[in-house]
Every structure is written in structure tokens, then in C-alpha cells.
């Protein structure tokens, strides 16, 4: 190869660059393009050929990158899915006891009175006067209400 001519030299440099750019699996193709340059006698034609080699190598590299990107994206999606499944199973195992229906509440003791605590002194006979005045009203209300006393009687 005569590299004294500038066009030829440029063509050779471009072809070498193209060979470096092409991904490894396609390097025989880059070599093929580069070797073909030695069979082109015309320098401008060789330069055009070398420019085409660069374009082809960039296309090959881009295609390789895109396919690699799709593969990695698919791997990420699959890994995320697997992780979510694992988390789901872990939650299912840990929440096993918590998902059972709550224990039944104890039946309401209907004999008890829910009107509040009775006054401390329930005196029906004449001791009412000895209660403090603020407690007399509450005691009287409690005694008037029949619901509590009737419930306790029926039981």
C-alpha cells in the first residue's frame, strides 16, 4: 500500500478507525472492508469506500448498542418483577396471623348498668339527708330509672 498520497492515507486512517469502532462480534466484517481498500486502485474511490466503512461501522455499533439496551432493560424488568414477587410472598407469610378474623368480643353483660357508676351511697331510707347535696340529684335519677333494676330482676 502506498501511503505517500494524502487521499490514500486518509482513506487508510478512516478504515482503521472503522475497524476499531465495529463491535467485536463483527470485527471480521470490519477487516473485510479494510482489506478491500487495498484492491481499490483509484484514490478518491478508496476514500469514498473508507467513508462508507466508517458509516457501516457506526451503524453496526449503534445496532449493537440498541440490542444491548433492550436486553438490559428486559433484565431490569424481570429482576423488578421477581423482587416484587418475593416481597409479596414475604408479606403474605408475615401477615398470616394478622389476616385471621379478630377474636370475638366478650358478650355484653346486660345485667350491668351502663348509666354510669351509681352514687357511692344508695340509701333508700331516711339517710338521704346526710348525702351531700350535689350527690342527691344523681342518686334520685338512678333510683327513678327502672331499666337497670328491671333487667337485674328478670335475670
Amino acid at each position: 500500500m502506498n501511503c505517500a498520497r494524502p487521499w490514500r492515507l486518509l482513506a487508510v486512517k478512516l478504515a482503521q478507525h472503522a475497524a476499531r469502532v465495529v463491535p467485536g462480534a463483527r470485527s471480521p466484517w470490519a477487516q473485510a472492508m479494510q482489506h478491500e481498500l487495498d484492491y481499490i486502485a483509484d484514490d478518491p474511490a478508496a476514500l469514498r469506500w473508507a467513508i462508507g466503512c466508517v458509516l457501516a461501522s457506526y451503524r453496526a455499533r449503534l445496532a449493537d448498542r440498541l440490542s444491548f439496551g433492550a436486553r438490559t432493560a428486559w433484565r431490569r424488568v424481570a429482576a423488578s418483577g421477581a423482587l416484587m414477587l418475593l416481597i409479596g410472598f414475604a408479606l403474605l407469610d408475615n401477615a398470616g396471623g394478622q389476616t385471621a378474623p379478630p377474636a370475638p368480643r366478650p358478650p355484653v353483660d346486660e345485667t350491668t348498668c351502663d348509666l354510669g357508676s351509681p352514687p357511692p351511697v344508695l340509701c333508700r331510707s331516711g339517710c338521704a339527708d346526710r348525702l351531700p347535696t350535689e350527690m342527691r340529684g344523681a342518686r334520685d335519677d338512678h333510683l327513678k330509672d327502672d331499666s337497670c333494676s328491671s333487667k337485674s330482676k328478670t335475670r
Binding site: W29, E36, D38
Partner: protein, 100 residues
Amino acid sequence: MPRRPNSSRQARTLLAALLDGPGTWRHGYDLSKETGLRSGTLYPLLMRLSEQGLLESRWQEAERPGLPPRHVYRLTAAGLALAREQALEAMAGERAGALA
């Protein structure tokens, strides 16, 4: 409707050129001169056809000393079938165009 693979004008031109001498090995530069395709178009096409199993390639020793080996190409059986099918379609298209 999805486009058929290898139905581009460049692919059809290349397949037609390779069909001319079905069993003979062809060089990239010869194919480029015959089809008018530049190396930037020709080699990606050759790579694709090869990956699809339509084209086979090998290294051929240089006829003259001091020159590197050349990569040569020819159609496989599947490539020949596709090239013939496309050639028939092209002929049918030309006939239909002539009748219309």
C-alpha cells in the same frame, strides 16, 4: 401491514446481483461496483443477510503477494430461493406494468 424482510430496493438489487452467478464467490468491491451500492450500505446489508443465513462468506487468499486476503460472499440455498422468488415477483410486476 409489516414490511417483508429484505424487500428494500437495495436488498433486492444485491440479491439480484448475487443471483447472477449463483455458485461463484463475489468480493465486496465488485458487488459495490455492480449494484451501485456504497460500502456504507452494502456491508450492513451483507452482515444482515449473513446473520439471516441467506449468505455465506469466507476468506480468500490474495492472488498477488503482498495483498491481504479478501472476504468473499455467495448465496446459500435459502438465499438463492429468496433471490429467485424476488426475481420472479419483479418479472411479474414488470409484465403487469407493461400490460396496463
